[in-house]
Symmetry: D2
Subunit: 346 residues, 4 copies
């Protein structure tokens, strides 16, 4: 039985971790961390957990937690996790960090986009970026696992095969992404009130969103050259889900079948990536509550572009589910354990 | 392994049965019935099932299905199930009927409220009303299981203990219920279009909804006398969930503790009924995707009334989940098998 | 031209006042009060007003405002308006108060339900309760106009005629109300976040909501005797709208036609109350953005009860629209001036 | 008084025409056309119009209607309007066509994208494309006014100034658009049911949507050369609103101020286009119910692209409002008459 501690268990991603881990046969949650609700019963913060979780929320105490747990999930704001990590902690426990601190290898890039000094750049080299479908072989040995961001997961998986195979011109990539509101977190802000989000759609972080360099880094590895792209997120009036619509110019003359083959080659054996039937567009409703990413593409011969699409649940594959997938790999369990969730519809 | 056939597998309740049964360790679905989509791949009707279900939809053929299956779930419009049942079928297979034909014992009451002739009243006496929390002991031996309606499940469970214990005056019961839109089914009607339901709430079937006599019958058993009540359903702009707010005058002077004790007595051992902490109101979001009914109450000494509240997922405990719960009892399995679902939030 | 000052112009009700008053031919807004956004451009707080309002928000300065304005609308939290009112102010300006301080005549009742000391009970006797359809003749002479609460407006207008005519037993009245989320205001609270409200319905303030005594007082006047009732509000995932479903036992044997006649008698000449055609249920979508209250009823001979229903836009007839209606009467303008709004659908 | 006939008055765009024209001081609607609801009271089809419209719906009879009306709005499916038009009709009445038949000058392009034979190509040359902000001077004399499509209106106005001024490379334009569900019409289809649209976002018509050539044609005029582009619409769970996010590479080195000046030059005097303050993103909630298009842009020096954004209400500026704006111009009325609508929020 793996003993799990969660720092930040009362955010939406933390709560999703609780939902998934409660159903995981090899896990016991031993620490429900939450600075905002110390000593409050977890089930009073999330009433869905009534009679399922009897624990109270605990303050962050990394040292004590490292002694009690085998793995710590940190689902906290920027800066917290990294500031708590040190050699002693890492000698006792594995860290799966759902924040962004360990995702970007170049500390200068991190500090520029995030506007803060990195608290422990010395751990960047060893941290492993946990996008299993791309990076699987490096994950089992990781001490610090950087769980990918929600937008980067969906964006990268939608575009990756065609970049890797050199089909498209990386300099032409444009990613237009749409996210449900749980991605904005549970903080009490006017902008996230029901009446402000409902019956509305808007772009935000245009040409400046922090997930941009993370996507660029991953696609640069695939392209074998630095990639700069446009990434525009939008806020959609729904709870869960991310949809990515990505555009790029083709570098080679390809037909639909060839592109299909490339996607199929990369994803045929992937448990959590579904290449849809030709013509079917990914929709967030078809993956809700599950760890799937649905992807597909369309060629436009008129403009010589390919439109690549991906849909996933931002809280599952985009956060907690992917974190559990990584945990499974790190602990030698079957990758899909606890994640064989049938999407909920409607 | 129990072989299951579903007639009406492409309605919302049928699709929820598929979701639950796919994760049930002792079940294999052998028949995806759907008159509307014969020969179409099930996963093309419900794209969430892509790569999970490879079957195509099949026409209704009760005789053939009875030979293939151990149990048939009928999630069809009124009249269909009962018209297909006969002694030969029943000698081969168990029937769990999610429509209303076998729920009301008095055929005259049925025909008055449903405005149709009952196709096989001879089976009414043996049919068992599958509200496990009230009727558990009769379920295992049933050949025909009448799965309760969504509103009656939530209404009856919210009110039942106080009626049974004679605390309230049954002649004063008023049930004001609110339902998500999946309860209206997947039929293409203008009234159920997105723009008609969104940003709206309305009552419907006022003083005439068909679930009224079903609730009355169950509460009459509890009261030991005929109960007439007002039941008003409302359509709410959300996918899933039923909330019941019920009112009744108290017959006896009782304090909160006494009422608490009564609810606790009836539901303490129930796996799927959660009596919330004092003061907490049931909310549909806390049960979504699960088989729970959350209940609670409030006394109003000013008016000498009790307000009883219940929340559940109409597609799970109000339809497919309860049907699986009944199946488990009918086949000697643990009642909660395949139903230990953590509610999904947000 | 009437010069209008708004205290609390950046709440949802205040913003709706701005929307309505901008289109009012006899009004000029001279003061956009907002403690939270002092010196900020109003159109930056409400971007819909871009190019329509050039003013900046101003702090509360009742003395200065009284000199500049002919009428002050106070759309503020409890306690603020009343604490600012005095004889000098009232000699200069009329007050239309959208908070609850002047709605309840009995100061003890106010203080019990609102849990605060009334700051100026001496003005309660002269304050006029501005439910035009009931109280029209008293409004023109008012110095302090207590604008009715949203729930009380819809509840009272739905039930009033039958109470007044002695058709129903006032001791049996139960009001089950449902409101859109704008009624909860623009304050940044976790409970009002998009993901908390969306896909959910809940009751709140059960047997304790502050609008209860306000409804009781108005219906007591109609009944000629003290009325106690149950009032249960619910939060619905939509922006605007209140739906009231009210129940009462009939005191007299009446047929549908007689009840119809009573409603028709009271509302035939009312510009803003629409008695729907027999059988049509009020729905919030049909009144959105307008000053209408749609009402109707259904008799249930089985239980000898009448179900009374009403729908309105909580921000218009339930707040800003009714306030403008009152202003029109107070300033001798046609009651409907600036309020001839066609409901927006969808 | 202008006498107006509406063919297709019971679709969402038709109903919005009714809402706007009821408040227009120089218009009287004399014909509520609706094939689906012949002889039914209009207010029974749209209950918001109860007591506001007493008319019944009438069948299409172009000849009779042409004698009764001064102008006919056709808000009907493809093909209907054009099939009814002839010289005699046009000698009696002006036509404002909200369908697509007269929008595209090249009949071959129309027939390719719409998959149907054009019923009266002889009228294409004289039909005027009614995008007032671009085409104002041609509108007064028009007999046949082609009211622009919803997506083309928002797309063209967002991109037009920079194409016209030669700032961007037209071959690189990508338009990613998002629409509320009223754009899908009031037809009873499973895909538009509440539970199918709610909690979902999807792309549709990828690389094949019919509005593509309409946008291309307009931007080609601006560019002075043929423009091919990618246009991807998405369905968003909200009633109203279109958001356009458009991308293009810059052809010239420009700074923000220069681009600002260009937009300002084109839109400074436009009553219905609002160039937002620098940094503010257009959002659909800020224009709901109004005839505004809010536009803005962001330069990305990293990729040398400009991101252009526009938001509008698809039923107002995208359909009925723009049609009224055109009618005003055609009848010599002030362009903004009946359209000075303050956006409704929330």
């Amino acid at each position: 039985m793996i003993k799990v501690g969660i720092i930040g268990s009362t955010g939406y991603a933390g709560a999703e971790l609780v939902r998934l881990l409660l159903a995981h046969p090899e896990v016991r949650i031993c620490w429900y961390g939450s600075r905002s609700y110390i000593d409050k019963k977890y089930a009073q913060v999330y009433q869905n957990m009534f009679q399922l979780v009897e624990d109270v929320c605990r303050d962050d105490n990394m040292a004590e937690l490292a002694r009690e747990a085998d793995v710590i999930f940190t689902a906290t704001p920027q800066g917290l996790c990294a500031s708590l990590v040190n050699e002693e902690i890492l000698s006792q426990v594995k860290i799966i960090d759902l924040s962004a601190e360990f995702r970007i290898k170049d500390v200068a890039v991190y500090e520029k986009w995030y506007g803060m000094t990195h608290p422990c750049p010395q751990y960047l080299p060893e941290a492993v970026y946990g996008l299993c479908e791309v990076n699987r072989e490096k994950i089992p040995g990781a001490r610090i696992l950087a769980n990918p961001g929600c937008y980067p997961t969906c964006s990268t998986l939608s575009v990756y095969p065609l970049v890797k195979e050199g089909i498209l011109d990386p300099a032409t990539i444009i990613i237009d992404a749409k996210s449900g509101t749980s991605g904005a977190g549970r903080g009490a802000k006017v902008d996230n009130l029901y009446c402000e989000v409902n019956e509305n759609i808007k772009a935000y972080g245009v040409a400046s969103h922090r997930h941009t360099p993370e996507i660029e880094e991953q696609l640069s590895y695939a392209a074998g050259e630095p990639v700069l792209l446009n990434f525009t997120p939008h806020l959609v009036p729904m709870n869960r889900g991310i949809l990515v619509t990505a555009y790029a110019s083709l570098k080679k003359q390809v037909c639909e079948e060839q592109v299909l083959e490339i996607y199929d080659h990369y994803y045929r054996k992937e448990r959590f990536v579904r290449l849809l039937e030709p013509g079917a567009c990914p929709q967030t409703r078809w993956v809700e509550g599950s760890n799937y990413v649905d992807v597909n593409f369309k060629l436009d011969p008129r403009t010589n572009r390919v439109i690549m699409m991906g849909a996933m649940d931002n809280l599952v594959k985009g956060a907690a589910g992917q974190a559990v997938q990584n945990m499974n790999l790190m602990f030698g369990l079957p990758e899909e354990m606890g994640l064989e969730l049938v999407p909920l519809f409607p």
